[in-house]
């Protein structure tokens, strides 16, 4: 996984609320046995029509919007636990996703795949959408060490929370399995007293 410390990028705005995992990647694409390829099916049914032609209105098909940050409305990622949703967003090229609220499992999945979910306040979020609406080249800056997010167009800054352990993981580009594997001895010791099942 790729480490994140400082990141400044333009954004892709998706000002919709309650975007669920079926919208992020429809169930019919879950038949894959690989991670690779999910990015092509990100927001598939919003991006392409029935004849697989790009729908020009949809933001991912609009060349004016690009960047490593996806900004979305509240309650993003509800629905199923499918990690494909996080893979799709990460493989498409996003590294940070900003919203005022994320569904639990999605948030975990995102962090396990090097995709940093940042929760901002509702006014801060509207402020970002406004900045992008008036200039599609508006940027956000993320400073993970100091846990701040800056809307460079307005200068507004907010701090965000992230658990200290996950923060270390993102800063160093390490994942959980590396950490757990190093603790096998403790696990075996635990099993000696925990032998009920």
């Amino acid at each position: 996984m790729k480490a994140i410390t400082l990141l400044t990028s333009t954004c892709v705005p998706l000002p919709l609320e309650n975007v669920d995992t079926d919208q992020i990647i429809p169930a019919r694409f879950l038949k894959t046995t690989e991670k690779a390829g999910c990015g092509n099916n990100l927001f598939r049914d919003w991006r392409y029509d029935k004849n697989n032609q790009p729908i020009p209105d949809f933001v991912l098909n609009n060349p004016n919007y690009k960047g490593e940050i996806l900004v979305t409305g509240r309650n993003f990622g509800s629905g199923s636990s499918r990690e494909h949703a996080a893979w799709a967003i990460a493989e498409y090229g996003f590294r940070v996703i900003v919203s005022s609220f994320f569904a639990d499992i999605f948030k975990n999945n995102a962090m396990n795949n090097g995709l940093l979910p940042i929760v901002v306040s509702e006014p801060f979020l509207s402020d970002i959408f406004a900045a992008i609406a008036s200039d599609n080249n508006a940027t956000l800056s993320i400073d993970l060490v100091n846990q701040t997010i800056i809307n460079n167009a307005s200068g507004a800054t907010e701090t965000f929370s992230i658990n200290a352990y996950k923060k270390e993981c993102f800063l160093n580009g390490l994942d959980d399995i590396d950490y757990l594997l190093a603790r096998k001895k403790e696990i075996e010791q635990f099993e000696k007293k925990h032998n009920r099942y």
């Binding site: 919208q23 894959t32 990690e83 352990y165 696990i187 099942y197």
Partner: protein
């Protein structure tokens, strides 16, 4: 002063990472074909074996056809996914119940009915409806594929400890009101994000009085209000249900287990982060009218003002604010899924349609949640009742719940479904899902339109 959740959680805490999550030991993991292949590949890439193979159970359920299961799956990609699971189970030495096996079915139906899910356990699966198993008094929750890989490699995962919420439902349910109605009622009150960050304990007289099947339905839907999971303290209902199940402890071990399980309840002075109280008498037969399970109302009610945000959902459903759904023509009925694919659901459904006839305009898919359910319903003669009423039984699997197999509802068609999600396109591109319990589904199936099963309106 601990909650049942705290007790089980603490008993499985291996360590707490400084400033970080809890390292939690997992007693049981279920793997299905959709969310596991990348985890097994991850193990191969790291050159690891499965750490505790005896604690892992594999079975395909999402993709499997509900007709002709003895023949190879026609959809090549689905077949490859199922075969990949078989190969992974074999390569890593894991128990697997393949398609057609008498213990195959939807994981969340098979686990409890075989005593693989037991009180006091921690149970995970790469599937959000793993919350179902909480009904036996376990901590059970869905995880992502990276976490599946963690458990395969170390039998542990990292979890931030969720907050606890207790939902107490006092009183008794009205006649004809089911656990599904109870769940839809709760979600409509809490909204789909209302329990986010919480692990929910269900308590109170109405919950105690639920059968095990009803409890499984209730816990299954916890995830639809955003909760990490739901749990019900084990009691005599639980013990009676589990006794003599194949993988439940036997003899002296059973007695010892029950003694332990009896300690698994929230202490009288336990403190929850949030407590909610409801009265069972307020709960009616429910249906959904929108595109998330929180958009639910009593079946005989009118669609409330959903505001601007809800308009998109109503447009998708082609419904209007203020509209009554009673009498609304429907096209499909789906009885099944890990929510309502158990024997009791089939009993309710069969009992209602007994002596009546399926409406001609309705296509009905009746899909048992497992082969064990299928066998039992035949033993009880329910199949004959259903066939006589014009219904046909399918073979077990997830089926139309997420339409990964061939059971897809066509665009624009209405389906009364006993499953758990009415998201856009969930049951087929453009399909319009109305969630309900088995009774409301049965009433819709024989009348061809949305009916209140309590008024028992029959087809003329």
């Amino acid at each position: 002063m601990n909650t049942i959740f705290d007790k089980i959680w603490d008993a499985h805490t291996v360590a707490i990472v400084p400033d970080g999550p809890t390292q939690l030991y997992i007693d049981r993991m279920y793997c299905h074909e959709v969310t596991s292949p990348q985890a097994f590949d991850g193990l191969r890439a790291r050159r690891l074996s499965v750490f505790r193979p005896e604690k892992i159970i594999c079975m395909p359920d999402h993709n499997i056809p509900t007709l002709n299961q003895d023949k190879p799956i026609r959809d090549e990609i689905a077949r490859r996914q199922v075969e990949t699971l078989y190969k992974n189970a074999e390569d890593f030495g894991l128990t697997c119940y393949p398609i057609g096996h008498k213990k195959n079915g939807i994981i969340h139906v098979v686990g409890p009915e075989n005593g693989l899910s037991l009180p006091g356990m921690t149970i995970v699966c790469g599937d959000s409806h793993t919350s179902t198993h909480g009904a036996v008094g376990a901590i059970a929750f869905g995880i992502g594929t990276s976490e599946v890989e963690m458990v395969l490699a170390t039998q542990c995962i990292f979890q931030a400890k969720p907050k606890t919420m207790r939902i107490t439902i006092d009183g008794t349910l009205n006649e004809g009101v089911t656990a599904k109605d109870m769940a839809l009622y709760l979600i409509s009150k809490l909204t789909t994000g209302g329990a986010t960050g919480y692990f929910v304990e269900y308590a109170g007289e109405a919950v105690r009085n639920l059968s095990m099947e009803g409890r499984l339905t209730l816990c299954n839907l916890s995830i639809e209000m955003g909760a990490r999971g739901g749990i019900i303290a084990p009691d005599e209902t639980t013990f009676n249900y589990l006794k003599d199940k194949e993988f439940a402890p036997k003899g002296a071990q059973w007695d010892a287990a029950v003694n332990y399980w009896k300690t698994l309840k929230s202490d009288d002075d336990a403190v929850f982060d949030k407590e909610l109280h409801f009265d069972a008498a307020d709960i009616e037969s429910m249906i959904t009218y929108g595109t998330n399970p929180g958009m639910a109302m009593p079946v005989n009610s009118t669609i409330p003002d959903v505001g601007e945000i809800g308009q998109k959902a109503l447009a998708y459903m082609d419904f209007k604010i203020g509209e009554k759904l009673l009498g609304k023509k429907i096209d499909y009925v789906f009885l099944g899924s890990c929510t309502n694919g158990r024997i009791e659901d089939f009993r309710l459904f069969a009992n209602y349609v007994k002596g009546k006839k399926k409406a001609e305009n309705v296509i009905a898919w009746l899909v048992p949640g497992s082969w064990a359910v299928e066998k039992q319903l035949r033993e009880e003669g329910l199949d004959k009742i259903l066939i006589k009423a014009g219904f046909e039984l399918r073979q077990p699997g997830c089926s139309a719940c997420l339409a990964m197999n061939e059971d897809k509802v066509p665009a624009g068609k209405y389906v009364v479904s006993t499953s758990n999600r009415n998201f856009e396109g969930r049951q087929g591109p453009g399909a319009r899902t109305i969630l309900a319990g088995a009774l409301v589904a049965a009433a819709a199936a024989v009348n061809g339109f949305i009916t209140d099963p309590r008024t028992n309106r029959q087809k003329s």
